[in-house]
Subunit: 413 residues, 2 copies
């Protein structure tokens, strides 16, 4: 007998018919002799409706505490309905809100962090042969206030519950077949990965792959919860996300990702002496703007250029802050560019292979693509390029690094 | 400074605009220097949508526990939205679900009874100058399960909270102006009562007046919570429901009510010896069917007729049970009649006036209305008549007992 955690997102429980299908899948898993805990999101569209009501009655910044009280009703609806549907198939089920599931978080509304799960009640229900149906995305703080976890929160709930009850696997059901070597809409021969390490998953998620959020992948790594990302439409194996030693095939590059949601800001004519960079980046950080990549040119005539990238969402604010910093330090007017994309390659095997970055730059050069910014880690290389080259770059990198027989540099060199 | 509890039903919070209006009213009460706790229902229509989903996924009898988890999301939405709207008007507000408000009930889902309110958190919030916005209709049992109180549950929550925090008044906002001497749709010169006793309110509610449920009126009486039933559309005084000694004007008849939701069953040819009635009524009671009025004719040739009334809802089941009991005791085939109505007069002053029932019978006789069943208590007389005479009977009784100058019997005698 295994302990299995299953997580179904908003699309999978979008209407009564889909909830019935999820129920059938849960029952199938249960009837093959497993203990099953299910984590669900709000029905697709439900959250949007609640957010609209909150804006209408709560203005631009509705009370954070009440926003969570409101939003948490979404998953509460789903757990009750799914428990009913499972019961209709003859299998006992019981629902748990965040509070009932003992999901203790900090008090940071809308982006609360799980501190601990008091899983006694869930465990008791599972031991009694009952399916536990748990609301994702929500918890409670020490004062009994309802909190929500923010984006991708249901994945985090699933991983945290899996860790707390010592599950054998945490299955993340989604509308794709698993984790792919790249976006199949861009590269038709992208292939599904059998296994991938937590580290790679975290990089892929943070670099633009949308299947799983970085935070839940980190959580899974920390608690060594094996994840199985798979399709809710059929029962074929998806992609297992496991620890490094369980990954058989250490690919040099397991994935090519892209992200169009960034923008680039350049501060030219910055006097090249200590403390200048801090005067630009400190006010940005104080404003809550996360700077992704930074380069500083070689000094020329005692001045240099500072270039960095930020999320496109905060671009206008970042420009204003950078401009006022530039004025203060006597730099030239700042220049912004939103027509950029970040393209990255990720792979555990990079650790053992030298020259991966160099090969990447060559592949892009061969396509006539100019590289604007570069950032690397032990298992990834990211570059910022002009947005219009995104697909071209992804296809070229996938052909060069991932496709079978593509271990050699492309012949056009 | 007074402590004021206000309760708004589903119609009053039916959409964003109405929630804003309720918020304005709450803020007005708060700003005149009062502590305010508000109890709200689900937005009008919300509950119907949830019930439909439950039927779709949970079948004819959805899991009782999960049904409550589902339905309780309705009020949870309203409390969050109302708290936001109050905040937008510059007054601090905090929402409470049933669990957060400490509303402890028994575990009888869908018709739970409030056992106790641990009002410490509500009290703390009120003392801090914050408006408490509390979900009506819901509570939690000792195992932390969500429970709902059943019909009229939000009124009960309001009265219970008022009792727990020692409120000076519990205001029940509704779409009518108060409690009327009878249904104004039937008798245009029905008048609004200034004050009425708990006992009268309980009788009126149980006999068909729809403004307040019997259960909340009983609760108010037990804990001596003054109720003020008033309109949510204007700020004029409605009807105060208070203890008997606070009612100045002891009317012989303060209200005339009618109820078309009953049916009559007659078991003829019952042998007149001890224990026979029990063999009819025990199986009915075991089936959860509440019998309202019972008459047994004078015995004739050793047999008698048993006639009783039940809610029309359970009529078919009651007929089947009565028939099988009749077969067992060798009675004749049972006869049913759903075309009946119960018409009642209620008034504290009856205690001091003899002949009220006799006068009622005479008034009905004068209109040619035959009386089928009779039941009386210290402060009410009810009769069952053919349904088609309902309005005629109500008008005649209102004219004879309630209208000014109608203290004398009608002249047509």
């Amino acid at each position: 007998m295994a302990i299995i955690v299953q997580k179904y997102g908003g699309t999978s429980v979008g209407d009564a018919e889909r909830i019935r299908r999820v129920a059938a899948r849960v029952v199938e898993t249960y009837q093959t002799g497993n203990q099953v805990a299910v984590i669900v999101s709000a029905m697709g569209g439900e959250t949007d409706g609640l957010v609209a009501l909150a804006r209408e009655l709560g203005g631009a910044e509705p009370l954070a505490r009440e926003y969570d009280v409101l939003l948490s009703t979404g998953e509460q609806k789903t757990i009750a309905l799914l428990a009913m549907a499972i019961d209709q198939l003859g299998v006992p089920a019981r629902s748990f809100t965040g509070i009932q599931a003992g999901i203790r978080t900090d008090g940071d509304h809308q982006r609360a962090r799980i501190l601990e799960i008091d899983s006694g009640r869930i465990q008791g229900v599972l031991d009694a042969g009952i399916v536990a149906v748990i609301a994702g995305f929500q918890g409670h703080d020490d004062d009994g206030n309802i909190t929500t976890l923010g984006r991708g929160g249901s994945d985090t709930t699933a991983v945290a519950v899996a860790a707390a009850i010592g599950a054998d696997v945490c299955e993340i059901y989604t509308d794709v077949d698993g984790i792919f070597t790249t976006d199949p809409r861009v590269v038709p021969n992208a292939r599904k990965l059998e296994r991938i390490s937590y580290d790679e998953m975290i990089e892929l998620a943070s670099l633009g792959a949308r299947v799983l959020q970085t935070r839940s992948a980190r959580f899974a790594m920390r608690y060594k919860v094996p994840l199985h990302v798979r399709s809710s439409f059929h029962s074929e194996t998806g992609t297992w996300v496991v620890s490094e030693e369980e990954v058989m095939e250490r690919l040099v590059v397991s994935g090519v990702t892209y992200n169009r949601d960034e923008a680039k800001i350049r501060v030219p004519g910055v006097k090249d002496h200590p403390g200048v960079a801090a005067r630009v980046f400190t006010p940005l950080s104080e404003a809550g703007i996360v700077v992704d990549m930074i380069i500083q040119n070689v000094s020329h005539d005692g001045t240099t250029d500072l270039t960095f990238s930020v999320a496109r969402e905060g671009y206008e604010r970042a420009m204003a802050i950078a401009q006022s910093a530039a004025d203060e330090i006597g730099a030239a007017p700042v220049e912004g560019d939103t027509d950029i994309a970040k393209v990255s390659i990720v792979g555990l095997g990079m650790k053992d292979h030298a020259g991966v970055a160099a090969k990447m730059f060559q592949v892009l050069a061969d396509e006539g693509i100019n590289i604007q910014l570069i950032s690397t880690s032990e298992i990834k290389v990211s570059v910022v390029i002009a947005e219009r080259y995104t697909e071209l770059a992804v296809r070229a990198l996938h052909a060069a690094f991932v496709d079978d027989g593509a271990a050699e540099p492309t012949p056009e060199v």
